[in-house]
Assembly symmetry: C2
Homo-oligomer: 451 residues x 2
């Protein structure tokens, strides 16, 4: 056996302690509740997809983990890779099952994804994403572009309640607005321009300008692109500013203009709708580009107040042609759960109230009476009280210490004359009946405490 191999954490593959996992589990549980409350049903997809489908997005291809059987017979496996997001597998799931799904189809999906990129703060090789999407047949009404960020905004707000997540702020844009404008100022390679602008926060305006000009964009057009990206309003006032810029930048072309205007109108409606549902949540931000080619309408990014350095924790957009050759337009957003949890944990914002589920540690007087201690534990469990029985009939002081080490608040002493239970935080010890005694509500289950 080769079990002696070196033990070491793998960079980019986070693992939580039991108490940290409690925070993650609470995050996932909160998200599930909010998604279901809004009519989103859960699916899971397999972890693998054919490489030729995964590799469609050129940027992501270098990050894909391909699979090989360690001792495969040649040609025995399809060429498979681990999914790097939940959108590509969801698109495939919808195509595969289109005959059996009711459209518009709302779904949520919470799974791990894998990307072989360089690990750094908030960026992992294995991480949880939590996605919601709505996919329609043929036509996706615009109101879904508001529904999805509203549901996500509520999910993030719920996390503030359950795990103390910082307040979220969403920035939104519309691809048509940007693409119409870029075409209007004469940019030929619009996807390349979007990719350059997507780096604005990272490389700054001069960096973006350099990249645009290196790609053949004129200095004047590059300046217009940066001026557009500077527009950000907490309401629909961006519209007048963008319209004004169209004129001052000398943008032109009927098709470009009508695309631009469709985007302006849609983004105005979107920002108003989201802010009507959750006042102060949404900003129109014309710098939001999103790197992915397939977005065709609304695009979204979300940061946590005071934690902007973490980058976006919830992003997405509308895609009209991703699924089934355009027959299934959709809109979706994805929460980077691991990124969020890693910050909650590392910033001390949330932790588990104890390292184990047990509320009660049932002491064992001697090994001959272990069955009696087990019986007490079973009575408590039947009443929903998590507990464990001492591993050995050591001195009671040692047993109390074992409970204390795990953060278990109560130790139960079975006795021939009647049982007693001790709150080891106060030292108070009282007579108790396992059929009737109940711990205080806040002690019943291990829970997330805010820090």
């Amino acid at each position: 056996m080769a079990r002696m191999a070196r033990i070491a954490p793998l960079s980019g593959f986070p693992e939580w302690s039991p108490s940290e996992r409690l925070v993650e589990a609470e995050v996932l549980s909160t998200l599930r509740d909010v998604f279901a409350l809004h009519g989103y049903g859960e699916i899971e997809t397999r972890a693998v997809e054919p490489i030729d489908r995964l590799a469609g997005d050129s940027d992501a291809a270098k990050e894909i983990y391909a699979l090989n059987r360690l001792r495969a017979e040649p040609g025995s496996d399809a060429s498979l890779g681990l999914h790097f997001d939940l959108t590509v597998p969801f698109a495939r799931y919808v195509e595969e099952r289109q005959a059996h799904l009711a459209f518009p189809f709302r779904r949520y999906q919470i799974q791990k994804v894998w990307r072989g990129e360089r690990p750094q703060e908030g960026r992992f090789r294995e991480f949880y994403q939590a996605d919601i999407d709505v996919v329609a047949r043929d036509v996706l009404p615009g109101h879904f572009e508001a529904e999805v960020p509203v549901v996500m905004a509520r999910a993030l707000a719920a996390l503030t309640g359950t795990v103390g997540a910082p307040r979220a702020v969403m920035s939104m844009n519309d691809r048509r607005l940007v693409e119409g404008f870029y075409a209007g100022v004469g940019i030929a390679d619009i996807p390349a321009a979007l990719r350059a602008v997507d780096k604005l926060a990272k490389i700054g305006p001069q960096g973006v300008s350099n990249e645009l000009e290196a790609g053949g964009v004129s200095a004047v057009a590059a300046e217009a692109v940066l001026a557009l990206a500077a527009i950000r309003t907490p309401d629909a006032r961006f519209a007048a500013q963008a319209e004004q810029l169209w004129v001052t930048a000398g943008a032109q072309g009927d098709e470009a203009r009508s695309t631009f205007e469709a985007g302006v109108a849609a983004l105005s409606a979107l920002v108003n709708a989201v802010n009507a549902a959750i006042p102060g949540m949404a900003f129109a931000d014309l710098s939001i580009a999103r790197g992915l080619d397939y977005y065709t309408g609304a695009v979204y990014e979300t940061v946590l107040e005071g934690h902007e350095d973490l980058g976006s924790v919830c992003a997405g957009g509308r895609y009209d042609s991703l699924i089934g050759g355009g027959g299934f337009p959709g809109v979706g957003m994805s929460i980077g759960v691991t990124r969020l949890v890693s910050r909650l944990v590392s910033a001390g914002l949330a932790s588990g109230s104890r390292a184990v589920p047990s509320a009660v540690y049932v002491a064992v007087t001697d090994e001959d009476s272990r069955a009696a201690s087990n019986a007490v534990a079973d009575v408590l469990r039947a009443r929903g009280i998590p507990c464990e029985v001492a591993s050995s009939a050591a001195k009671f002081g040692k047993q109390i210490h074992a409970a204390d080490k795990r953060g278990i608040p109560f130790v139960w002493f079975p006795g021939a004359e009647g049982d007693e239970v001790k709150d080891i935080r106060t030292g108070e010890q009282v007579a108790a009946d396992a059929h009737a005694w109940t711990p205080p509500e806040e002690d019943l289950k291990a829970r997330v405490v805010r820090g």
Copy 2:
């Protein structure tokens, strides 16, 4: 973009419909509750381990999926593979964090694992396992060998309640009993003999006998091995039969005898303890071998009554030397969740009450009043009632049809004169106030229905 690649299910990588996923989610939720009630805390480990650690078990090595970055710089990645169970990663987790864990450490872990074996009924390439283990420092008292199957038996019994899982029956053995006996009858390669006996159900007594004799075991010893494997009792009566067989088979050797007797005593105590907790659950079955080398004491297998063809759905055992060179003896069992769910679904034992979470479909009179419908939905949601708003202001007949197609029981009609709600199963339509109306408890959430 290469998105046009052929869409097809991958053999061995199951995916459920939203309604089937509901069954799986209920299974997982039931297991979590039972595990936590018994003091087991949750962890998750990364999906990957260094290949040299995974490949320790020679039988499993050929099933390992190795990872390679699709466009990796040479030498940039460690040699990693996907875990094929949760025991190997858990062992590594314990070694890595031994300074921070309180021992005995009880944990549960529910994750997908991957094995590149040939898919067949109940056997998958990607599947959920749900494991519990207790790991101690230096010494693991024998009562944990009873605790773990008792917790698992309760978990399986709970599944009968929540998803209609068939009744489980556990078979148990003790490695020392078997190894002592094998040594006593003169078998040299005991692991090979165990692997042969492990195939008894598959290849029959003659097949096992052939394999044993091909491995150098005498015909007389092979006969003794098969006679031992034929002993099965619902209590400790196996002990007398095994002792008798020791004599009639002419087994000998002091060390072999004392190992054998330690196993007989431990198995007697184990079967009695599990049957005391859950009458009729446990059988001593001396054919239970388990393929894995690392078991050193109790071993367990579990079948579902009436579904024995599915094979074992919950198995495990005690291992003394797996972790940290023997410093952390443990005992654990693993439920093959996907195997179980696939049978529940394929045999029609359980399904979702509806395909979506929504209890209420809020109709939209016209697009101008969509905000009013959204407001109704939000009032219902604030009261914990899952709902969705109609995707278009189609004729009410069409909207009712859309609800019906999803199995949503109620359609809500907002009205200037007051709202009404229709139970579309009975056709009954009544005046209703979103601040007060509540659906019947059984309609509130999508749930698992049996049958």
